[in-house]
């Protein structure tokens, strides 16, 4: 293109002389600076005018040394950025002063970013143009941004207590803004409110080690203390519960597998009558039945039609060939009635006994029922006397190789311990986080 236009020459960095001490003041921001601070005498200078008017002198007691020196470049947030400014801001709360450091980062094409540090916790901060939608979250203020919900954490007046380097806006110590933080870890959205405007920014949590690596700083990063407002919880319980769910499903599949392959076969079933005081021997033996296949469980169910009464059964499962016996007893008791609370029942007409492993073989069952004769009704005996007689009818069912789920519940319970412990520790982490907020969780056990 035959253009008469000449492209502007390469933009050069500038160095100025401090009007107060005469020392060199380097400008790294190619003319974006409105404020620059002399690194020798800490005069805050108005960089928008060629004469560099002195705006203020920072007292010695407020001076701080940035952990990342001015002029350091780092690879962060998808680009290369240079530290060109530094400021310290403080809030007063209950007579205590909390201070944090903000590093202004610059790239002549991509613009400005910040790195913010408090007590070894770091955030990479990007200015935002959007104004997040304000909502109420559980009775507290919150905002929605890009589909995520952010809870209000704290709001306080922040005062600038120290500045160094250069800034593309007017800044001096004593500047005040209302700073409100909304969190959805690892992200924090911050609103800075002045009389003129509300400025939003978005911070992403970073560890000291990540910052040290990004800016190639010597030595180890200072240790972080406490839990920071948007520090991601190391106890994210979601994953643990997902793997718990996965393992539980596997165990459940195993349980279903075993139940499908359990024969669950009825090997004996019969009905009987019993009455007291008929002079007959109450005990008897059943016909012989076969337990085939593997050594497996045997389940005995006895159902008796007792009401407001009890019956007791002595059982012996006897191997016809070896004479080995399993002795056990079962009570059936069922009471029902009605009182001021309405109708009630207690017990039941069915009782079950479970023998975990019975070897295969030929077996019979010895049964000896008992009842309380005095709970019965009067009948005339053959000798003409009135005597009390108690009676019942009952049934006995024997099932071989029944599925057993007890182990399943034990395994499920054991599997639940790690995620449960993780969740509890996660809760504690959140309590420690929110203790620093405007909404400290209620603590039990005094102040």
């Amino acid at each position: 293109m035959s253009s008469p236009l000449v492209a502007p020459p390469v933009v050069k960095t500038k160095s100025l002389s401090c009007p107060n001490c005469g020392g060199p003041v380097e400008l790294r921001g190619f003319g974006h600076a409105l404020t620059v601070v002399c690194p020798q005498c800490f005069s805050v200078l108005d960089a928008s005018t060629p004469e560099l008017k002195i705006l203020q002198q920072i007292e010695e007691r407020w001076r701080r040394t940035p952990k990342i020196p001015l002029g350091t470049r780092g690879k962060i947030g998808g680009g290369e950025f240079e530290v060109i400014g530094f400021q310290t801001r403080s809030v007063e709360e209950d007579g205590e002063t909390f201070s944090w450091d903000e590093y202004l980062l610059f790239n002549p094409y991509k613009g400005f970013r910040y790195v913010v540090e408090y007590d070894g916790h770091w955030n990479f901060v990007t200015p935002m143009e959007a104004m997040p939608h304000r909502i109420a979250l559980g009775g507290r203020p919150g905002v929605i941004f890009e589909g995520r919900r952010f809870k209000h954490f704290s709001g306080a007046e922040a005062v600038t207590t120290f500045v160094l380097g250069e800034f593309p806006w007017r800044v001096k110590t004593g500047d005040k803004v209302i700073d409100d933080d909304f969190i959805d870890p690892p992200t924090v959205l911050s609103a800075e409110t002045t009389d003129e405007e509300v400025t939003w920014s978005r911070g992403e949590y970073m560890t000291g080690a990540e910052i040290w690596k990004a800016f190639a700083l010597p030595g180890p990063a200072p240790r972080a203390s406490g839990v920071y407002l948007n520090q991601p919880s190391p106890f994210k319980s979601g994953g643990m519960w997902t793997s718990f769910g996965g393992m539980l499903a596997m165990v459940a599949a195993l349980a279903i597998f075993f139940s499908v392959f359990s024969a669950n076969r009825t090997v004996f079933e019969d009905h009987y009558q019993f009455q007291t005081g008929d002079g007959r021997e109450p005990s008897f033996v059943t016909p012989i039945f076969d337990l085939k296949g593997r050594t497996a469980s045997l389940e005995l169910t006895v159902h008796a039609n007792v009401t407001n009464d009890w019956a007791y059964f002595n059982f012996a499962l006897i191997n016809e060939d070896t004479g080995n016996a399993f002795d056990f007893g079962r009570e059936v008791s069922y009471y029902t009635g009605s009182d001021s609370d309405g109708p009630w029942t207690e017990g039941g007409q069915t009782s079950t006994a479970y023998i975990p492993s019975v070897p295969p073989g030929r077996y019979y069952l010895r049964v000896e029922p008992e009842m309380d004769a005095n709970a019965g009704s009067f009948v005339r005996a053959s000798n003409g006397k009135m005597t009390r007689v108690n009676r019942m009818s009952y049934s006995i069912t024997l099932k071989h190789d029944v599925p057993d789920y007890t182990w399943f519940w034990i395994v499920a319970g054991l599997l639940m311990i790690p995620p449960l412990a993780h969740t509890v520790r996660g809760r504690n982490f959140e309590v420690r986080r929110w203790m620093q907020s405007d909404y400290p969780p209620v603590q039990h056990g005094g102040n």
């Binding site: 236009l5 390469v10 190619f30 409105l34 991509k110 143009e129």
Partner: protein
């Protein structure tokens, strides 16, 4: 695209309009502001050289937005109490015109919205909410600014204006708007905040020490 060539009414040097919609340019030799009253060129004053500026964008920078290529043809520089910003006039490949704003390296692209009923200057205040194209816009800041200068070609003659009010309209997302009260009735520009990388800009300025 036609590129009418004529002569500067002040010094006679050849003046070329690279963009057929241009209404104003500056003579590259004598710095006269030249307004096109179709075919006739009128000299309406003189521009001072623009002060050095750190924008990475320059005339003839090219980029892409919304699937369309664009060229930077002109620039307006505004200043206000707390600094300044650039409005780069861009022409898309379909010949339509837009603006690429660069305010402290925060970038936005906007276009003039069709004429519609807009609140008068006296009715505008911070926090006021209005709806355009079913999107709610909130007045975030009011800025009283003035022209600091221009270069290249502009779609309208701008010279001789004093202080003017701009209302910065924000949304809950990346859309934004500007109400420009330098005209009566006011003009509405609607657009989007963009990331530098998103624009795929070429032919940018070079900065010492930055590759």
């Amino acid at each position: 695209m036609s590129q009418p060539i004529s002569n500067c009414p002040n010094c006679g040097a050849p003046v070329q309009f690279r963009w057929s919609g241009a209404a104003q340019t500056a003579c590259p030799f004598c710095k006269s502001i030249i307004v096109r009253t179709d075919i006739e060129l009128k000299n309406v004053g003189e521009v001072a050289d623009l002060p050095p500026d750190p924008s990475p964008i320059q005339l003839l920078t090219e980029g892409s937005f919304g699937g369309q290529r664009f060229n930077v043809t002109g620039r307006l520089v505004y200043e206000y109490e707390n600094g300044g910003w650039n409005e780069w006039h861009i022409v898309f490949s379909d010949g339509s015109s837009g603006w690429l704003a660069d305010a402290q390296l925060q970038y936005a692209i906007s276009r003039l919205a069709p004429a519609q009923a807009l609140p008068a200057q006296a009715e505008i205040s911070r926090g006021k909410v209005m709806t355009f194209n079913n999107v709610e816009f909130e007045v975030a800041t009011l800025t009283l600014a003035r022209y600091k200068g221009f270069e290249g070609e502009l779609p309208f003659p701008y010279y001789g204006k004093s202080d003017m009010l701009f209302a910065d309209l924000r949304t809950t997302g990346s859309q934004f708007g500007t109400l420009d009260y330098s005209e009566d009735p006011a003009l509405l520009y609607l657009g989007e905040w963009v990331e530098f990388d998103q624009l795929q800009l070429k032919n940018l300025r070079q900065f010492e020490g930055w590759a």
